[in-house]
């Protein structure tokens, strides 16, 4: 079992629905505009804007960026208290009550995916009532990041156990994959040959971000072809 994600950039329209769905699903705090301008906005799924080439041939690309859930994560190596670790299914998890907030993992992550709770997380009065009860809200002073919606995995596992069957591919889909209107995000077991991600990850278009660092990300991108 090795959970992974394939993002097809040919299909992705850059709409940002995945980022919005993620934020709502995971109770990610919405910071004040002044704070966001300082660079403190919290996005587990971010949309990166990449510029390629110069003006007449300029290409602007939007790339959804979750946590890469590396197989050799640089962040877990440096954590002094095991508040971040790679679990047996390959998900790089965070233990919020354990985190001392040293932010060493943030400094060590080459993809800069982690967010820090600079202030006590707060929600506007309306949104407060819609927080997802399956996901714990974080405390001030801890690091958080994409978990591949691990709470959904727990739910799906319990459901499958209750029904006395094995986990099916579609039982566990993170919010971003679920919400993508273009169907650009596939999610599943990279080691299971019947899963779509396994087939897509062997596509000739498959590439990984900063592959040469040897972090072995489990988020795979399918390049655009013109």
């Amino acid at each position: 079992m090795k959970w992974g994600m394939v993002i097809d950039l040919q299909k992705c329209t850059g709409c940002g629905e995945c980022a919005a769905a993620c934020k709502l699903e995971n109770n990610v705090s919405i910071v004040e505009p002044t704070e966001a301008a300082m660079g403190r906005s919290m996005l587990w799924m971010d949309m990166l804007t990449m510029y390629e080439g110069a003006y007449p041939r300029l290409r602007v690309r939007q790339i959804p960026r979750p946590c890469m859930h590396c197989d050799h994560p640089p962040c877990t190596k440096v954590c002094p208290v095991r508040a971040t670790y790679k679990n047996e299914e390959g998900i790089v998890a965070q233990i919020y009550p354990q985190c001392i907030g040293c932010r060493y993992c943030m400094a060590a992550c080459p993809y800069t995916v982690k967010s820090f709770n600079w202030y006590k997380p707060e929600w506007a009065p309306g949104i407060r009532k819609t927080v997802n009860p399956d996901v714990s809200t974080r405390q001030v002073g801890v690091v958080e990041k994409c978990t591949f919606c691990v709470h959904r995995l727990q739910k799906a596992k319990e459901q499958a156990k209750h029904e006395g069957r094995n986990l099916r591919e579609n039982d566990f889909q993170p919010a971003c994959a679920d919400s993508c209107p273009a169907g650009a995000i596939a999610f599943g077991d990279l080691e299971n040959e019947s899963h779509r991600v396994n087939q897509l990850s062997h596509s000739p278009r498959a590439t990984k971000l900063l592959e040469d660092l040897g972090t072995e990300p489990k988020v795979i991108y399918l390049k655009e072809v013109d």
């Binding site: 640089p74 508040a83 080459p110 993809y111 600079w118 202030y119 001030v140």
Partner: protein, 448 residues
Amino acid sequence: MERAPAQPHPDYPLLRPIENPGRTFYYIVGVLLAILAYTGYVYVRQILFGLGVTGMAQPVTWGFYIINFVFFIGISHAGTLISAILRLSKAEWRRPITRMAEVITAIVLAIGGLHPIIDLGRPDRMLHLFYNGRLQSPLLWDVTSITAYFTASTIYLYIPMIPDIAILRDRGVKPRWLYEFLSWGWQGTERQHKVLDRAMNILMVVVIPIAVSVHTIISYIFAMTVQPGWHSTIFGPYFVVGAIFSGIAAILVLMIVFRKVFRLEGYLKHIHFNYLGILLLIMSLLWFYFTFSEYLTGYYGHEPNEMRVFWYKFTGAFAPYYWAMVTCNFLVPVILLGIRKFRTITGILFASISVIVGMWLERLIIVVPSLANPRLPYPTGIYIPSHTEWILFLGGVSVFILGYMLFARFFPVISIWEIEEGRHESAKMVNERITSYMPDPQPSSAQE
């Protein structure tokens, strides 16, 4: 050893500040305590509201606290390390310097060691480091080595102080109980001197590798990540050299201050400043050599991410700080210390202050630019430290001044018994040593 209290002590200038502290002492302590009270208020605010009150954000998630941590721990390398090396190499001119140097270590190490805790988002969970600690994390290595260094250097400061505390006890200086307790029944017998010498010898040898390990491991915090500008094999020795460099500058500034305030011209002579000044010059050249090697290899490797950080420092947003650092750490000290005409006490004071500023800038330049240039295209701003961070920096400096003043109020900053020992014995010892270096007058075979 024992003297009647009324008799004038030959080293009275060293005892005067303890026996008659004067009023200015209390004024300065008052000012410092006021600064510290405000610092405390600012820190409590940070605890209540979270690290949001600092200027840190993403991607620059480490700022002043980590910079000052590295800076203060660097300054602490002056003391015990230099004093141990000078004692071990039997440099006779060390006698009036060692105590001052060791006190720097003890105080600054305590301040520096607190900085990572100030930097924590959850200082209330600090104990997780002990009962959930992962020894694979460089942060844990740091906790270990700094604790070891603090323990070793405070003992190394205290042990050679015992005979001096006994002098104060015998002169009946108040508070009596303090000197009574701390002198541990020292009578100055031959056996006690033997034990003291042995303890000092052991500590001297132990403290040097610990001191080297401390700053090496601080550099490992950065070097163990894959970030451009940090992931470098020479970071260990580079940090150690920088630490000793800034430490010597700190000793020199303090020596000049105490010489002036306590009127110690008879003890801290021009020759001491000259020798330490030359040592500072050597360290400046060594620092330049390491900096040059570090950036030249980066430039020739021409790895795109490395180059982004490189140009950020050389011509980008951090260029003013970068070139100020090169000026402060290399140009100013080399000109002021390299030309004999400028190597006066004033010249050395300016060079030392310049080095302290320059080494602080170096820490800034190591920590921030690598974080400010993430590999992926994120919108990045520039890191501007907030009021909170500046006040906590000021507070750290105030704790240092206060700690040093309190030490100087109760204990002699120059080792009295070692000076006395120097007067009585070292001329003979040095003479003997030099004779032993000399070639024998006739071939030893001829004696048979």
